[in-house]
Structures are given as C-alpha cells and as structure tokens.
Symmetry: C2
C-alpha cells in the first residue's frame, strides 16, 4: 500500500465508505502485520475485507518503468491484477501515479481504439461539479486522443453527474473557432461532424471551468494539470488572504466568530477532499488514483467514485460510442504497450 499515510487512511476510508455502501466488499493488499491492528480498530471493515499479504510496496519515488519491471510482488501490482483477473471490480490506490498508470496499462490494456488512457477528475463549480480530463497522463495529445477523451469524459459524466446529455467543451485560449493549435481545432471539427449525438459546445476558456459552463472539459494532460494545480493554488491563496484579513483587527475576529457557521459551510464547499479521485479512463478495467497526501475523508471520496463507476454501464456505453467513430478501427493500434523511458516522464503526480 502506497500513499503518504497508508495504510491508516485506507482502512479508515473504507470504514467511512461503509456507511453509504454497506454491501461493498474489499480486498486489502499490503503488509498483514500493519493491517491487522488497524482492522482490530475498525471491526466493520474487518468484516467485509480480505487481506492479501505482501510486504513489498511501490515507493513514491520509483520510476514507472522500474516499478512495472521489478514490482510484480508489490501491493499496487497485485491490486491491479485483481481487476485483471476479475476478482475485483475496481482498483483504488493513493500511491505513485506514474507507476499506477504504467501497471494499469500493462495489465489491463487500453480499450479497443484507445491509444492512451486519460486521468479524469471532478471539479467543483458554482453550478455543482464538472469533469475535467486529462489531468496529467498525456503531455501532448493529437486530435484523435482529444476526441477519445471527449467521449470517455461524456460517459463518465453520465455516471458520476447523472446527466443524460452532458455538455462537452474543449479547453482553449479563446472561444472563436479559429483560436488554438491545429490539434484542438481539428478535434472540434471531428466532434461537430462525426459525433453529432454529443452535446458539444465548442471551446471553453480557463475561467469557464469554475462556472460549470461545460459538464465535461477536455484538455491535453499538460494544460489540464496546469489548470488543476493553478486552481488549487488560487483557492489556497484566497483562503490565506481571507484568514489574514479577518485576523488583523478585532472587528474582523469578532465578525468571523459570529459568522463561523458560514465559514464552516464555505470550508466544506472548497474542501478538495470532496472531489478526490483521479479516474483512469480508457482501460479494460477500472483504476482510481487517490491524492497521495489525502486523509480518510479524501480516500473515501475516491472509493465512492470507484464504486459508482463499477456499478454503472460506463464501459459498455463508452465502447459503443468509441466503436461508432470509424477512424478508430482503421488507424489505431489496439492495447498499445507503454514504452519505458517515455512513461517515466509522462505522468504528473496528482
């Protein structure tokens, strides 16, 4: 078990999840000596879990290609392998993102027609929540990958946001049709012409993500990651300003005390833990990456996304949509293997 605070937050996260999902069963891969005392603390988790022992774990600093080559006895590999073998419906890990992506690709392979998977996440907006992808698995994307991601993101939004016809936008530096580089304009053309059943709304800009202008925002992994982390940083900056502005005077402190209920509500609304969980889309099997530095509440959010997805028709729907796009069959390698060397540099740590 990886992640900064594993296995404690994993077991405590499962415990939280059981309140809403009492019928889910868990396979816990990790060091029995560490897990047993935790399970004694959480008897409800012990009841629905089976421990599969391994004392090997992927480190946060391991290179993805190395992890794949030498890490076949690690808890991460065994977790993904359980999905491959059909023993689990989803794998959830708070460990090394690049290693998890590399192992997921090697073991589960990509869906027919998909060359590389994307990482998708929930983004809190003033209207509710949107899906943003790719958050860091693919630094550069051609038009076909962007189209794939739009289709995968749309299917994800159907499950996670419960929308029959989610709106889909491409992240760009302007809304006009002529803006942006070739790949993004070509992706827009393909979506408009070849995927007429999609509710594609064209280009959206960085400031449109937070307003929820599109239910699904599609970007290459570099821009998507920059947007995600810039938003996280700005939210933290705003919270710091607010705290220091209120703390500076006695009236500020008094006002903050009186309005403490409102500030608690604001804190919950802005809590990044409630939107935790990067879902790997485009694989023959479900893998969810939790933030490495999260706590039990955050890990439980990642588990809930995994459970929602596992109990949905996501895969069937995505398959159907992808198959309808003729160019996939002709031009794409099926289940492409990751290339060591490039994989070591391609995936951003969430």
């Amino acid at each position: 078990m990886g992640g900064d605070y594993a296995p404690d937050i994993v077991v405590a996260g499962v415990d939280r999840t059981l309140v809403k999902y009492p019928n889910v069963r868990f396979l816990l891969f990790g060091d029995q000596a560490k897990l047993q005392p935790l399970l004694a603390q959480y008897p409800k988790v012990a009841e629905v879990s089976e421990v599969v022992h391994t004392d090997q774990a992927v480190a946060m600093s391991d290179k993805p290609s190395e992890a794949v080559r030498r890490g076949r006895k690690t808890s991460m590999w065994m977790t993904v392998d359980a999905v491959r073998q059909g023993n689990a419906d989803a794998a959830v890990s708070a460990g090394n993102t690049g290693a998890l992506m590399a192992m997921a690709k090697v073991q589960l392979k990509t869906m027919p027609g998909i060359s590389r998977p994307a990482i998708a996440g929930l983004w809190p907006t003033t209207r509710g929540e949107s899906i943003v992808l790719d958050l860091g698995a693919n630094l550069e994307c051609d038009e076909k990958q962007l189209v794939d991601f739009a289709i995968l993101g749309e299917s994800f939004a159907r499950v996670e946001l419960g929308l029959e016809k989610p709106t889909v936008g491409l992240l760009n530096i302007g809304e006009e049709e002529l803006k942006g580089h070739d790949e993004i304009r070509e992706a827009a053309r393909i979506l408009r012409e070849n995927v007429p059943e999609m509710n594609f709304i064209g280009f959206v800009e960085g400031n449109d993500i937070g307003t929820g202008k599109a239910d699904v925002v599609v970007a290459d992994g570099f821009s998507g990651n920059i947007a995600l982390k810039t938003a996280e940083g700005t939210a933290r900056q705003f919270a710091d300003y607010l705290r220091s502005a209120l703390g500076r005077t006695i009236w500020g402190r008094l006002g903050a005390f009186i309005a403490q209920g409102a500030f608690k509500a604001l804190k919950m609304k802005m809590d990044p833990r409630s939107a935790n969980g990067g879902v790997f889309l485009g694989l023959n099997g479900l893998v969810v990456k939790s933030h490495g530095g999260t706590d039990a509440i955050g890990f439980a959010s990642a588990l809930e996304v995994a459970i929602d997805m596992a109990s949905s028709d996501f895969a069937a729907r995505a398959h159907e949509r992808l198959a309808a796009l003729a160019f996939h069959e002709a031009e794409r390698p099926v289940g492409e293997m990751p290339t060591p060397g490039t994989d070591d540099i391609q995936v951003a740590e969430l």
Copy 2:
C-alpha cells in the same frame, strides 16, 4: 481608441495616473469630437495631453492580419507608430490584443535574436507579486523561445518588482528534472548551463504561482493563458461562495457587517485591476495591453506599468543578456515579420 469603454476610461485613467506621475505627457489618439468633451471634464489631463485626431478604430472582432493591412489610419496603428517614430516612449491600448500584437511586430520589429514577442503580466501572490509570461501570444514555444522569455521576464522583474536577482522558474507538471516535454527540459538545461548568472530555480507547478515560489514564471502562451484564466475563474468562484455563504444566515450577515473592514481589504487584495497590463516583451519599443473590459483604475495600472518600464533600463539590460547567449546570433532571424493567417489565430484576448 479601442477597448470596451474607451475613450472614457482612458481619459479618466490618465487623470488618476497624474497623481503619482505629474510630469508625464500624453498623446491621445482618437476621435476629437468624443475626446474634447471628456478633456473639458478633466482639465488636468487636457493640460498634459495632445489629441491626435482619427475617427478610425480597430474593432474587437477585427482579424489581426486585416487590421495590419487596412488599419493604417486607426488610433491603434497611430499609437504604435508614435513609439516607432520616437514621439512616444510607450503605447498603451485597451483594444484588440491580436491586432495590437500584429501592429507592434510590423512596426517595431522584434529585438535582435528574438523571433516572437511574449505577453507578460503581474500575478498577485501571497508574498507580493510575480511576473508570468507568456500569457497568450505564442501557442507553442520551442526551447529557445522559452529561454528568451526567461531572460525578458527577468529583466522585467528587475524593473517592476525592483529585484536585482529575481528567481526564475519554468511552469511544468512536476518538479523533477525528467518531467515535461522535450522543449521545456531542454530550456531548463540551457538556462542552467548557458545562463549561469540567472537565479534559475527549475520547474514550478501551477500551485506554486500563487505562493510566489518564483518571481518570474515562464510558460508557453497556451499554458500561461490557461493558468491565468483558471486563476481568475477560481478567485471569482471563491468570492461567489463567500458571498453566498455569508448571505444565507442572519449570523453570517451580521458577522460580515462587523468585519466589513476586513472584507474591504480582502477585496482590494484580490482586485484584478491592480495587476492590469499585459506588457509585450521582445520588441524594439514598449507596448502595454490593458484588459479590454477594465475601468479607469485598471487602465491607470496599465499606464503605470508603461511609465515604470519607459523610465527604466529594461531594453539595454535585456539586450545585453540576450546578446550573451551565443546561439541567438547564429540561429535566429532578426525582426521576423508576422505571417498573416497564423497571426489571426495565435494571440489570446486578455
């Protein structure tokens, strides 16, 4: 005169600027019939200004290449021309960003060794302010352009932030040396090996911009624009949440009333108008773009950046630094002309 609220905000902005800079003189290019009544309202502005009449203006929807070809009598062209002819030390406009960039390139040409200019802006951080560039003039950048932008940004930071040795970082999706695409890793290598006098701190991530980890953050124009607009959107989102959380209960409203001084301070701190002004760096002459939708306060910020830069040794310093980089002289076209067609799609509206 362009911009959404010109010429009113221009004249009112000059009036504000005169408080801090009473000795600056202004050339106002625009429709005399509209400007005269405004100048009657602002006698101090009338005293230090000369109106150069034209009734032609570039529209916000004009294509840059079209504006260059047919807009020789527009206020925007004439403003940039005044810099070219040495009649003005800087041009400031709230008009169409793409047209302004195209006109600036055609008239002023790029500095020796620079193939394309960048747009740089001030970014409020928890520590103070940082410089971020490129904000949208170059969708894709090779390693040499990123190195150029680092040098230009460093010189800008010396003037605008008053730092002798500003720290410079490259925006990336991870801090490790192996992260990011080829161009960005190669730019990091060049900065480390060939620009030893620079205080280059390596890669920074999106969440590092707001903490002020680097005084100068260098990015390609696509990522830089996405980061800028995502931060603007997130700040607005946070302000909306705060307002609605406080407005929902009587205690929230009471607390907000008591702490109103603190909220006013917060509002000023987050005010995007205080950091208004995208500076075009890399040209033989100074051009500053104000946000199109700003007011007099925002336009005054853009004017102040222009005045600071015009009264500094920015150009000399940047020249010296660029000349020290041997590869420029050998491999770069000098004063490259913009290519109509590509220019129409390359510049983001700020």
